[in-house]
Amino acid sequence: MSERITPEMVTSRTLSDLGSSLAALERTTNELSSGNTILEPSDNPYGASQVIDLQSQLDGLTGYEKEAQNGISWESTASSAMTNIGEVTQRVRELLVEGANGTYNNNDLETMALQVEQLTESVKQDANTQYAGQYVFSGTASTTAPYETGSGDEYKGNSESVSRAVGPSATVTVTTNISTLLGSGEAAEDGKLLDTLRTIAKNMREGSAGQAALGTTDLQKLDGNIETLTQLQAISGSATQQLHTALARNEQLQTTITAALANTDATNIPSASVQYANEQAAYEAALRASATIVQESLLNFLQ
């Protein structure tokens, strides 16, 4: 191309080359210090939108993870309440079997009735268990206690279910409809646990008159209630299982997406370091060369 090379051409070219050398060096420094290769969308427009997408997915997974963990705690609260109810029910059953065998007098039966009433109260208290300020057995009426303490046995909650989202369009129901087990007491005559317990206490108070019912209809009803409880516990257990499975899958996905995010945006430290060293060497060489060359001209050699 050019026949004549003027000092200004050399200087402007050198300056421009030094500038781009330095820009490359600065770029690598930024990538190393920030740990990211996409510092601005223009560095990699598609990558930047990917980063936003992946980050959103990752945040979503964190949200689902939190909900699943919350669901597990909820279920564990409900499950321990149901275990308590189970133990209480077993204790009532023992009293029932004892009371039915005819060796106890009316006074003894009266004492047993008192015990059964106390145990009934404790069942209701267990049913009023709260998690994070919400009654776990009230359905969506979470601010209302399902049962009032004392003689009223009416169920105050509702049968609507509450769920936790554990993934895109994957939800797990965490509420247990306790009214299918406890019912609304004697007044409702629904044969549910509270009705059964009240009937047992009543029959015990009736002394020998009610004694016959204790070993027969009462025991049958109680056994039926215990089976319902077992079913509810099984449902709750399976919900807990689902939540754990979702959590495990969630963790796996988080690992995958974190890796994808790193592939898109994270600086590869070894390769960036090598590049940095190369660019620095190149820049220094360019500086040295320009410092030497640009100074020379015919003037240096004329006498």
């Binding site: 421009s16 969308p41 427009p45 945040d59 949200g63 359905g139 969506t140 989202a165 945006d265």
Partner: protein, 436 residues
């Protein structure tokens, strides 16, 4: 006819004068080696018409040609008009690309993506707040969190929109200040018209207007970065300059036609500024797409809820319309219901986010295109400028060589003069004194 006695002296003198002129030219080149826009000059020497001496060539009868020394025919300014035109075309494109890159880089910086403070993160925080509300649907704290996350998100949209508007306004202001009274365009045009007049006068008076020509070329270079220009040199040595898509030439002879209307196809910085903020401009498109994101966000969230959560359908007007107590996690009115909160949390990664990610990608690729254009044009311009420099620039090595050449030439002419003088001395002092 014989040789004139003093002819030798005249010849030597013409050599001295010519070499001195060449030395002066070289000296001027060296002095201006680093002057911006200076075009080097060379002194062209020409032999004087020779003297015919018939007596010497009596044999042929044609006479002999005796050289009569040298004269400086001209001092030429070395310049290539085509390279100038090429330089100005590239410079206009570079001016446009630079304006694009500057404005779009500012817009990109306003987006602040990817980061932990951009709208993408705010969106994510907003969805997470609904996640929390789904866990404790009756909690006022969770509702407060939803409202505050929503308000922050809306504010981010408002701020970004306001920043984009500011960039558009700034572009408009810059355009006005460049084209307005005593703006750069008018200033350059006035100087060009004045130079046109001076150059014409100088040419008429037969004085070489080299310095003024350099100055005019330099002004035209600067003008070319503002818009496309074409330069036509008229017979009277005045330049006619067309500017952008303006209807009349900006400078015609000594007349300046300004202000005139420019369009977005005018090229250069001015064309780019019009285009960026015009109806088809990149900045306008970014603003419109941001409005779309805001409107999608507002409509998808509001679509789920019985009472609109967001008011305003553009990025500038987006706001939270509900107080914390009015936020409902469920449509049934039951305190433990959370189906609405879950539906909104499930909007994460949905249309609004997709559109936003698309917008970030668009801004990124717009900036990248502008930056790449700019870099390419800078390289091209550097190459054209190199070619121009190669023709017009001062090479010190070359000038030093010329300096020696002309210096030696001068010395030799002086020696010739001495020889002539000694010859005449012989004639005058020593002739006719024989036998005295």
């Amino acid at each position: 006819m014989s040789i004139p006695t003093l002819q030798g002296l005249q010849t030597a003198l013409s050599g001295l004068i010519a070499e001195q002129t060449a030395l002066d030219t070289t000296g001027n080149n060296i002095a201006n080696a680093n002057t911006e826009g200076y075009s080097r000059e060379t002194a062209t020497m020409e032999p004087n018409p020779s003297i015919v001496i018939p007596a010497i060539s009596a044999q042929t009868g044609e006479g002999a040609q005796l050289g009569a020394g040298v004269t400086t025919a001209s001092i030429t300014r070395i310049r290539n008009l085509y390279l100038d035109a090429q330089y100005r075309v590239q410079n206009s494109s570079l001016g446009a690309a630079t304006a694009d890159a500057e404005v779009l880089e500012r817009a990109q910086a306003a987006f602040n993506e990817p980061s932990t403070a951009g709208i993408a993160t705010q969106l994510s925080t907003f969805w997470s707040a609904w996640n929390s509300l789904a866990e404790s649907p009756a909690s006022l704290a969770a509702k407060n969190e939803v409202v505050s996350a929503g308000t922050q998100l809306a504010t981010s949209f408002n701020e970004l929109s306001a920043q984009l508007t500011t960039f558009a306004t700034q572009a408009g202001e810059e355009y006005n200040s460049l084209t307005g009274p005593s703006g750069e365009v008018e200033d350059y045009a006035n100087q060009l018209a004045q130079l046109n007049r001076q150059i014409k006068l100088a040419e008429e008076a037969n004085t070489p207007p080299d310095t003024m020509l350099d100055r005019r070329d330099q002004l035209l270079d600067k003008l070319s970065s503002l818009a496309n220009i074409t330069v036509t040199e008229e017979a009277d040595h005045m330049d006619t300059v067309t500017f952008g898509e303006a209807a009349q030439p900006l400078v015609q002879g000594t007349t300046v036609n300004w202000p005139q209307t420019l369009t977005e196809t005018s090229g250069g910085r001015l064309g780019a500024l019009i285009k960026l903020t015009g109806p088809n401009g990149t900045l306008t498109a970014v603003q419109e797409q941001l409005d779309e994101v805001a409107s999608t966000l507002s409509s998808t969230v509001n679509g789920v809820l019985p009472k609109a959560f967001f008011s305003g359908a553009s990025a500038a007007t987006l706001a939270v319309a509900l107080s914390a107590k009015e936020v409902q996690a469920s449509g049934t009115g039951n305190p433990g219901g959370n189906e609405l909160a879950q539906s909104i949390a499930a909007l994460r990664g949905g249309a609004a986010e997709q559109e936003y990610a698309g917008l970030v990608e668009k801004v990124g690729s717009d900036v990248r295109t502008a930056q790449d254009d700019k870099t390419n044009l800078q390289t091209t311009l550097l190459a054209v400028n190199d070619q121009r420099q190669s023709v017009s620039g001062v090479s010190l090595d070359e000038e030093m060589t010329n300096l020696i050449t002309y210096q030696r030439g001068y010395q030799a002419s002086a020696r010739t003069l001495t020889a002539m003088s000694e010859m005449l001395e012989t004639l005058i002092e020593h002739t006719g004194v024989v036998g005295l």
